[in-house]
């Protein structure tokens, strides 16, 4: 049985540097990744239309000068926002780890329209949440335990079973402290838009409500500070040499997040551009 997976767009730009592991994660989850330069996409935003999944990788876009994601966010808000909004409306899931999260917030993509559902404004709205410098004022690379709220609408993290001690994710950033007013947090909670939290003991950057990632009201756009794309193989786990080989048989947590979205795309025909040859059952 030949199966052609859904096509995943991975957007790169000056200073983006986690594109290769994001491509590898999409690939491992059964999608076909393709990197495209922002320059090219800004010239021809309709290129986005060919894709079933989108990834906005981590890195230091444009040096993260001024603030993380600020410049790339401003550029994308100007030139790519309509195409990306269209993509969401046609059901394309989008993952934005780390710098991608910072960019998506600055570009008006997250946390998305406050009216809920499909009421995206014509022009990118100013951010209502922020990813501010870590409380320590230092860059930190570490692994944390995480929690997924039961009621999340995020199609990437929905129904993930997080119960094993190896269900952890790596983070590596200097500006990942999630900040939002109590009323915005309340709204996000009510809408099921909190997609992922650090375990309360592991809130290393001082985020409000230990929030590590949020989604838009549709649950398709997922921004998070951790890097699930860096935990798709067992040997990436920081203590894998301590974990019995018998335990290391299921998919690592990061890979499960990507598989979740690929499965969702396969089930949801709205945005399907891929072909499944001889697939008898989904």
């Amino acid at each position: 049985m030949t199966l052609t997976g859904p096509k995943a767009l991975v957007i790169t730009a000056p200073g983006i540097n986690c594109d290769s592991e994001l491509c590898a994660a999409f690939h491992a989850a059964g999608a076909q990744p393709q990197s495209e330069l922002l320059q090219r996409l800004m010239r021809t935003p309709s290129l986005v239309d060919q894709f079933d999944l989108i990834g906005l990788p981590g890195g230091f876009s444009f040096g993260d000068d001024i603030a993380a994601g600020r410049i790339m966010g401003a550029l994308m808000a100007r030139s790519m926002y309509p195409a990306l909004r269209e993509a969401v409306l046609r059901g394309v899931p989008m993952i934005c780890p780390c710098n991608g999260f910072q960019i998506a917030v600055q570009a008006g993509l997250l946390p998305g329209p406050s009216g809920g559902g499909e009421q995206w404004p014509e022009l990118a709205a100013p951010a209502s949440v922020a990813l501010a410098p870590n409380a320590s004022a230092r860059f930190a690379d570490c692994w944390t335990k995480i929690e997924v709220p039961r009621d999340t609408v995020c199609i990437w993290t929905k129904d993930l079973r997080i119960d094993a001690p190896d269900d952890v994710l790596p983070s590596a950033h200097g500006e990942g402290r999630f900040v939002a007013s109590p009323h915005v947090v309340e709204r996000l909670e009510a809408g099921g838009q909190i997609a992922i939290r650090y375990a309360s003991s592991d809130n290393f950057n001082g985020s409000t409500g230990a929030i590590a990632g949020v989604c838009d009201p549709s649950g398709l756009i997922f921004g998070l500070m951790p890097h699930p794309e860096r935990y798709t193989r067992w040997t990436q786990h920081p203590q894998w040499t301590r974990i019995d080989a018998g335990v290391r048989t299921h998919d690592p947590l990061g890979l499960r997040i990507f598989r979740n979205a690929v499965r969702w795309v396969r089930g949801d025909r709205r945005g399907a551009h891929f072909e499944e040859l001889g697939a008898s059952a989904l």
Binding site: F62, G63, I71, F139, T241
Partner: protein, 1014 residues
């Protein structure tokens, strides 16, 4: 660009929001009642309407959720909406980069503002600090100590709002000739020093002779080029010179290029070629092998070295399709003056070396090793920066550059010794991967000389010659132009464009490339055109600002630049790639001239002409004296430099002496946790890590080496490690052997294949004009030769940094200890068999491999307890016949899957190694020191616990596997013993037969190790 006026923007944390940068500054000062607020300042020159100012602030400069902003014109007092309603500060200090200093954030704002508003604006950035609880004068001194460096920053006592930005004016050509032909020897010396050429009198004479022969005087640009090319930094003239060595030999075996004389002295023809490089060539079978200790003359020649010593890095085979390359650089002198910029541009330059190897490699890992004075050394000589600031700034520099490049920094070390006070050492390493068919570049006559990447500026002029000089208390003022701030993103986009051009659908678009490092264009074009010559139009180089002279453009070491040799037909395809990646590219000229000269032009006019042959072969090679003086060297190597020794006192009265020593060793800065450094590096970017720098439960243990899996979908790994044994510096031969043995042990412990280890040498030495230091260098080079051959671990690349000594204002010379860093890498055949150092579970047997002695010289036990203040104790020396065999036998046991954890026994002896394994794994251990192999000698408990004998490994083995593992070692006649068991108890217990010596809780061990490094 026409400038209307300068608008000043301020952005700060909004009401009730945290201000981590201000808080961090207040924290690092640690004065009670002090509060600091930080604001970002942007000075924007141009014609801006109020609406445009508001847009710039709202959409680009400030975060709508967490920050507020305001803007001001110099006149007209039009201000933006949000103003602060806070208490007036007691002091305001501002920090702005000096004119001409790289300001990457300003460049980004300019580009983004252009995209946003469509206007060309000129931007400068700065930082404002508001203080409460200190006077203006104290605030200034706080900023000068913690947040500014006068070499690159201007500090203001009020908000800085200039009328206009300083600009250079256009350069009007005039060609300056230097009348060298008539100078007498004294005048030659004066010229060399005043023009910052740093050439010896003999070298100046050689230049004089050449220009007398040519019948003209050199033009300034020619003299500068010769000085750069002949600098120690570029040509390694000391290591390549002929040396006459007298004193105690190291062994009686023959070494190539060495000639014994009747007087007992040894003449060495080109030290580097006759030692470090000779070992590699003997192992590769390209020169005949000499017999020596541990040398197997029947072993087959090594065929996996693909490019050694010739290129910007050394290249070895990784698998059938891929090659990997490794380079380690020092950036000591710039880091002494501006540690942040020095370290950042150090790693930036090393990364460029990797990108500029063969036809281009992709950087996949970085390493860093620092040598600094102890943190408690608070009184430093004038002209030196406090060691804690040096360390935190070099870490920040590596972090900001490496993280932005997306290259994991995953292996390193820090060594503390007060003699590094004036000359901190900053080693930066980088590893790359490339297809096997891209390991060699070339240059063809007619190729276009293409420069890509950053613009050329006045920054970084004279870096090559400066790095070859001795530092004094006035160097910070004299050489500030040699110090630079890097812009990692410029380098990242250049890297992306180069790899896209290398992997172009029509094949690689260029024949060869190199980076612009020391010497700038003069070295890059000079090296690439060394057989063909080149014609260079210097006026075509993109510059940062107007007014640069042709000489400045030719020798500037401005960062982030590469030179490519591109066939004319590929120029357009390359330009398209550069455009798409936002990389600047220019055609500087053409390789190949009729007479193989390098011809320099400025708008068509010839401004310089250099004979390539004289440039590369004209340097005179004097005979250098090396006189080994063991007593002097021992005296020099006294631990802790000039500090008065305090007798060891247990810090905790609950502990007995041995317990207290174990805790003190774990807390010693050389041994203690480096987590605060490691965590600031993105050591996992690219997603390839297999063994991380911190391992074990809670990632609380120090890994011996890092392992990555660089090829997606391949189970083949690459282990990366280093060895540094500066404690043994009183005999650099012993030190060199120990460093190589340590590097190899580290690699073996994580599962590397010891038959495929390639290593690198980095010498940092005090002045070799002193014959005693020269002799120390010879002995270290002998160690490299002997050990590389015995271990069959070829050197593939190396570098030296000499003249690391500091002259204080009182005229006292502080020499660094001779320091040899060995870096190494090797494949791990199957990453599933990679091994870590943390004990895995209770009930395993602990096996010690290797013999222990009572030679405590150079040990950390001696250092901590003050035993070796006179440097008189005997030091342990690597047994070259046994050490390689031990490494192979241990590696086979790991590869077979018999070993649950493995740890190298180094600083602090087995007591420290066991403690680390125990707290890293959260598993206790019970060990009987009396069962350790000692070659049949009776040793005291302290020697058993703390001796740092080389070639020892601790292995955790399942009880059921013990018999076959022991049989395995027995068959190879390697000394080993089961010395204990892992236990359920959360304790490390050391005993000697029935006598209990120490019982320490894992919590206490972990806490000593963690807090010692904080």
């Amino acid at each position: 660009m026409s400038l209307g006026e300068i608008v000043r923007f301020e952005v700060r944390a909004g009401h009730g929001e945290r201000d981590p940068r201000g808080e961090a500054l207040a924290r690092s000062v640690g004065v009670a009642g002090l509060r600091v607020a930080h604001s970002s300042v942007y000075l924007v020159g141009g014609t801006l309407s109020a609406a445009a100012c508001n847009r710039l602030a709202r959409e680009l400069l400030a975060d709508p959720v967490t920050q507020t902003w305001e803007w001001k014109r110099l006149r007209g007092a039009q201000s933006g909406p949000a103003s602060s309603n806070k208490l007036a500060p007691d002091a305001i200090i501002e920090v702005h980069p000096l004119p001409g200093v790289m300001d990457p954030a300003a460049q980004s704002v300019e580009a983004a503002a252009k995209a946003l508003l469509g206007d060309d604006l000129e931007v400068r950035t700065g930082a404002r600090f508001d203080f409460w609880g200190v006077s203006q004068r104290d605030a200034r001194s706080i900023v000068e100590q913690h947040a500014a460096n006068p070499v690159i920053h201007a500090v203001f006592d009020e908000p800085h709002h200039p009328e206009a930005f300083p600009h250079g004016s256009a350069y009007g050509l005039h060609i300056r000739e230097v009348p060298i032909r008539e100078l007498n020897p004294t005048q030659l010396d004066t010229l060399s020093r005043d023009a910052h050429l740093f050439l010896s009198q003999e070298e100046m004479h050689a230049i004089q002779r050449e220009y007398r022969r040519l019948g003209r005087d050199p033009r300034e640009i020619e003299l500068e080029t010769i000085a750069q090319t002949w600098s120690e930094h570029c040509v390694h003239k000391t290591l390549k010179s002929t040396i006459c060595y007298s004193g105690e030999p190291c062994g009686t075996h023959a070494r190539p290029g060495h000639e014994g004389q009747q007087s007992g002295r040894v003449m060495i023809n080109n030290l580097l070629k006759s030692t470090v490089a000779a070992a590699t060539h003997e192992l590769m079978g390209t020169i005949p092998q000499c017999a020596g200790p541990g040398v197997d003359l029947d072993a087959p020649a090594i065929d996996w070295c693909l490019s050694v010593f010739g290129d910007n890095s050394g290249v070895v085979a990784f698998d059938e399709q891929h090659a990997v390359c490794f380079k380690v650089e020092t950036h000591n002198h710039p880091s002494a003056i501006e540690p942040y910029g020095g370290a950042a541009t150090g790693i930036g330059g090393c990364i460029r070396d990797i990108v500029g190897t063969g036809q281009g490699a992709k950087p996949i890992a970085s390493t860093d090793v620092f040598c600094v004075a102890n943190g408690d050394l608070t009184k430093v000589p004038r002209g030196c920066i406090a060691p804690t600031r040096i360390l935190s700034q070099v870490v920040s520099g590596i972090r900001d550059y490496g993280n932005r490049m997306g290259i994991p920094t995953l292996n390193g070390a820090v060594w503390f010794d007060d003699r590094y006070v004036g000359n901190p050492l900053v080693y930066a390493g980088c590893i790359g991967i490339m297809p096997r068919n891209r390991t060699h570049g070339s240059v063809a006559a007619g190729d276009v000389i293409v420069a890509i990447g950053g613009r050329t500026g006045r920054d970084g002029i004279h870096g090559a010659t400066f790095s070859s000089a001795e530092l004094t208390d006035t160097h910070a003022d004299e050489f500030s132009h040699a110090v630079q701030i890097g812009n990692a993103i410029t380098e990242k986009v250049a890297l992306d464009a180069i790899l896209a051009a290398r992997d172009h659908a029509q094949g690689c678009l260029y024949h060869g490339l190199t980076d612009c490092g020391a010497g700038g264009f003069s070295s890059a074009v000079g090296e690439m055109g060394s057989s063909l010559g080149a014609e260079v139009h210097l006026d075509r180089a993109p510059v940062k600002y107007a007014g640069l002279t042709p000489t400045e453009i030719w020798i500037s070491e401005a960062q982030e630049r590469f030179v490519l040799a591109v066939p004319q037909g590929n120029i357009e395809a390359l330009r398209a790639i550069c455009d798409e990646h936002s990389v600047e590219m220019c055609e500087l000229g053409t390789f190949g001239t009729p007479d193989q000269n390098i011809v320099l032009r400025w708008h068509g006019t010839e401004v310089g002409r250099l004979d390539v042959k004289f440039l590369h072969a004209g340097i005179p090679s004097p005979i250098r004296e090396a006189v080994w003086d063991a007593a002097w060297s021992r005296d020099n190597a006294k631990f802790a430099g000039s500090r008065a020794f305090q007798p060891f006192q247990p810090a905790d009265s609950q502990l007995n002496m041995m317990e207290a020593v174990v805790c003190a060793l774990l807390a010693h800065p050389n041994i203690a946790s480096k987590a605060w450094i490691i965590r600031q590096y993105d050591h996992e970017v690219q997603g390839t890590s297999v063994v991380k720098p911190l391992v074990g439960t809670g990632q609380g243990g120090p890994s011996d080496a890092a392992v990555i899996a660089p090829v997606a979908a391949s189970s083949r790994g690459l282990a990366i490690a280093n060895g540094l044994a500066t404690g043994l510096a009183s005999d650099p031969y012993i030190m060199g052997l120990a460093a190589i043995d340590e590097c190899i042990r580290n690699l073996v412990c994580v599962g590397a294949d010891p038959s495929r280890i390639a290593i690198l040498d980095n010498f940092s030495w005090p002045s070799c004009k002193d014959a005693r230091n020269m002799a120390a260098l010879v002995r270290a080079a002998w160690a490299c030769y002997d050990a590389a051959k015995a271990f069959r671990a070829p050197f593939i690349s190396g570098k030296d940094s000499l003249n690391n000594q500091f002259v204080t204002e009182d005229g006292v010379t502080i020499q660094i200890p001779p320091t040899l860093l060995i870096s190494g890498f090797a494949p791990v055949n199957d990453i599933a068999r990679a091994c870590t150092m943390d004990f895995k579970h209770a009930g395993s047997k602990i096996i010690l491999v290797g013999t222990t002695s009572d030679r405590l010289g150079g040990s950390h036990f001696a250092l901590v307890t003050g035993l070796d203040d006179a440097g008189s104790l005997e030091m342990p020396i690597v047994d070259l016949t046994r050490a390689p065999k031990t490494a192979h036998v241990v590696a086979r046991a790991i590869a077979a899957g018999w070993v649950r954890s493995a740890h190298d026994c180094s600083e602090g002896g087995i007591a420290v190694a066991l403690a680390e394994m125990a707290f890293a794994g959260g598993v206790g251990a019970q060990v009987d020191l009396a069962s350790m192999p000692t070659g049949g000698r009776q040793l005291e408990a302290n020697a058993l616990a703390f001796a740092e004998d080389p070639s020892r490994y601790i292995l955790e083995v399942e009880s059921s596997d013990v018999a076959r593992v022991c049989a395995h070692f027995e068959a190879a006649a390697i000394p080993h013993a089961v010395i204990g068991t892992t236990t359920e108890l959360d304790q490390l217990r050391l005993a000697h037969k029935d006598k209990s010596l120490a019982a320490l809780s894992l919590a206490q061990l972990r806490s000593s190790w963690s807090t010692g490094g904080a």
